[in-house]
C-alpha cells in the first residue's frame, strides 16, 4: 500500500513501452524484455487495484481499533496511501522515542497490523502470478 509510483504512473509506463514497441526499438532482446515487464506490470497492477479498496477499508478499521476513534485515526479514511505512509512513519518514530510502556504496546500493535497488511498485500499480488 505504501508503494512508490501511483496506478496512473504505472499505466503511463506501460503505455510508453507499447508506443516504443509500435515504433521499433534498438534491439530485439531488449525490446522483448521491456514488453514482458510491461505485461507483468499490467497483471500486478490489476491485482493491486482490485485489492486496494478492501485492504484500505480493513486497515482503517484495524488502525482505528488501535489508536481509538480520535482525530489521529480519522486521517486513515481520508489520506492517500503515500500520505498515510508518511503519517505512520512519524507515529512510529514518536512511539520509539517515547519508549514508555504504553507507547511500546501501541508500537507493537501497529507492527503486528503492518505485518498483516504486508501479508494481505502480497497475497493479493500473488493472484496476478
Amino acid at each position: 500500500m505504501f508503494n512508490p509510483l501511483s496506478a496512473p504512473d504505472v499505466t503511463r509506463a506501460v503505455g510508453a513501452v507499447l508506443k516504443a514497441a509500435a515504433e521499433g526499438g534498438p534491439d530485439d532482446e531488449y525490446r522483448r524484455g521491456q514488453l514482458l515487464s510491461a505485461y507483468s506490470m499490467t497483471r500486478h497492477l490489476a491485482a493491486e487495484e482490485e485489492a486496494q479498496p478492501r485492504l484500505r477499508s480493513w486497515f482503517g478499521a484495524e488502525l482505528e481499533a488501535i489508536l481509538g476513534p480520535s482525530e489521529a485515526a480519522a486521517w486513515v479514511r481520508e489520506a492517500e496511501p503515500a500520505e498515510l505512509g508518511e503519517r505512520l512513519c512519524e507515529l512510529l518514530a514518536e512511539l520509539r522515542a517515547a519508549a514508555d510502556p504504553g507507547s511500546l504496546r501501541t508500537a507493537a500493535a501497529l507492527r503486528a497490523l503492518l505485518r498483516e497488511l504486508c501479508d494481505r498485500e502480497v497475497a493479493a499480488l500473488a493472484e496476478a502470478a
Binding site: N3, Q34, M41, E86
Partner: protein, 345 residues
C-alpha cells in the same frame, strides 16, 4: 550477425576493444574481431560478447560497461581491480585483461574486458531453474558444495590486499550508506522500511575480523556448467567489512526465488539452510551467530529495497526509459513482508 568484421557503431566498438586487448599484450597484431553481441541488459552494467579470430583459433571476451545513468553508482575500476586481485587468490573469476576509463569511448562509459567463461547463471525466479537447482541438491549438492567453498575462499583473501582496492565499510557505515540512499531516492516514505532501519540501530553484531564481502552473493551471480561453478561474477558492490553479511544476504527468501509467491525451501535455492551455514562455519573457522545472520538479512533486504528505489526514482525522473525500473515497484511488497517476518513484527 554473420561472422566477418562488424560494421558501423558495433564495428567501432569491436575495434576499440580489440585495440585495448592488443595493447595489453593479450592478443597479437593479427587478431581480428569477428562479432560483437550485446547480452540482455543488466541492471547496472551492460555486457557485450566479443569474438576474436587469430592464429588459427577463436577466443571470446566479455566487455563489461558501466553505462551513463547506471543503477549503481559504483566504481568500475574498483570492480576491475578486485577481479585482478581475486585471480591471484584462487577465487574463480574471469581473467580481467584491460580497463578503459577515458570519456567519449565507443561504449559510452568506462569498461573493462575479461575472458568469457563457459557456463550459465540460473535465474531462481524461474520455476524451471529452481527445480534444476533443487534436483542438484537432492543428487549430492555439487553446486551447494561449490557455493560454500567459493564463499570461504572469497572471505579468506587477505584483508590488507583487499584494503588496497576496496573501501572499508563497518556495520554502522553499511547501515548508514543504504539509509542515505533510501532517504535520497524514495518517492514515498515507507513505515516498515524506516522502522527496520531503526531496529538495525540497536543490533550491531560483535565485529569479527574484516574480510572481502561480495555483497550480492547468490547462485544467480555464479556461472555453472555440468553441475560445477565455473566463475563468481558481479563484484560491483563488494567492500571490506563483516563477511557474515554475505550469509544474511543469501538467506533471504527473495534469493530463493520468492517474489509474491514462495520460492525454493532451500537457502538460495541450492542447499538446506543448516547445512550451508554449518559447512561455512566448519570450513572457514568463523563462528556463525544466527542472530548476526538475521541482522544482516534485514540489512540485505533494505539494501535491495534501496537499489530498487533508486531505479524507480531514475525512471520517474526520466533518467532511464527502461521500464524494468518501474516494474520493480512490485518487488518491494515481498521484501517488505520479509522484513516484518525477520524482525518478528
Amino acid at each position: 550477425m554473420t561472422a566477418g568484421a562488424p560494421e558501423g557503431e558495433v564495428g567501432r566498438r569491436a575495434a576499440e576493444a580489440l585495440r585495448l586487448l592488443v595493447g595489453a599484450g593479450v592478443l597479437g597484431e593479427d587478431a581480428r574481431a569477428t562479432e560483437l553481441v550485446q547480452l540482455e541488459g543488466g541492471w547496472s552494467r551492460q555486457a557485450h560478447v566479443l569474438t576474436v579470430a587469430g592464429a588459427g583459433d577463436e577466443r571470446q571476451f566479455v566487455v563489461r560497461v558501466k553505462p551513463p545513468g547506471a543503477l549503481l553508482d559504483t566504481d568500475l575500476r574498483q570492480e576491475y581491480e578486485i577481479c585482478r586481485l581475486l585471480a591471484q587468490h584462487d577465487v574463480a573469476v574471469p581473467a580481467a585483461h584491460a580497463f578503459e576509463g577515458e570519456e567519449g569511448n565507443a561504449f559510452g562509459g568506462p569498461y573493462y574486458v575479461m575472458d568469457r567463461v563457459p557456463g550459465s547463471a540460473p535465474n531462481v525466479w524461474r520455476r524451471r531453474d529452481r527445480e534444476l537447482l533443487e534436483r542438484n541438491w537432492e543428487q549430492g549438492g555439487s553446486l551447494a558444495e561449490d557455493l560454500v567453498d567459493a564463499l570461504v575462499r572469497i572471505h579468506a583473501v587477505p584483508p590488507e590486499a583487499v584494503a588496497r582496492v576496496l573501501p572499508r565499510r563497518d556495520y554502522g557505515a553499511a547501515v548508514g550508506h543504504w539509509a542515505a540512499v533510501q532517504e535520497e531516492m524514495a518517492l514515498v516514505r515507507d513505515p516498515v522500511v524506516e522502522d527496520a532501519y531503526a531496529w538495525l540501530g540497536g543490533r550491531e553484531p560483535s565485529p569479527g575480523p574484516p574480510a572481502l564481502v561480495h555483497g550480492d552473493y547468490r547462485i544467480g551471480n555464479c556461472l555453472n556448467r555440468d553441475g560445477r561453478i565455473t566463475a563468481v561474477l558481479d563484484w560491483e558492490i563488494s567492500y571490506l567489512g563483516d563477511p557474515i553479511y554475505d550469509l544474511g544476504y543469501i538467506s533471504l527468501a527473495y534469493e530463493a526465488g520468492k517474489f509474491t509467491r514462495p520460492g525454493s525451501p532451500l537457502l538460495g535455492a541450492v542447499a538446506e539452510r543448516e547445512w550451508f551455514l554449518g559447512e561455512y562455519e566448519r570450513r572457514s573457522g568463523r563462528p556463525v551467530d544466527p542472530e548476526a545472520v538475521r541482522t544482516y538479512a534485514v540489512l540485505a533486504a533494505l539494501m535491495l529495497i534501496a537499489i530498487l528505489t533508486t531505479g524507480i526514482r531514475m525512471y520517474a525522473d526520466g533518467r532511464t526509459g527502461d521500464v524494468r525500473m518501474a516494474w520493480t515497484r512490485f518487488a518491494i511488497p515481498g521484501l517488505r513482508q520479509d522484513l516484518t517476518a525477520l524482525i518478528d513484527y
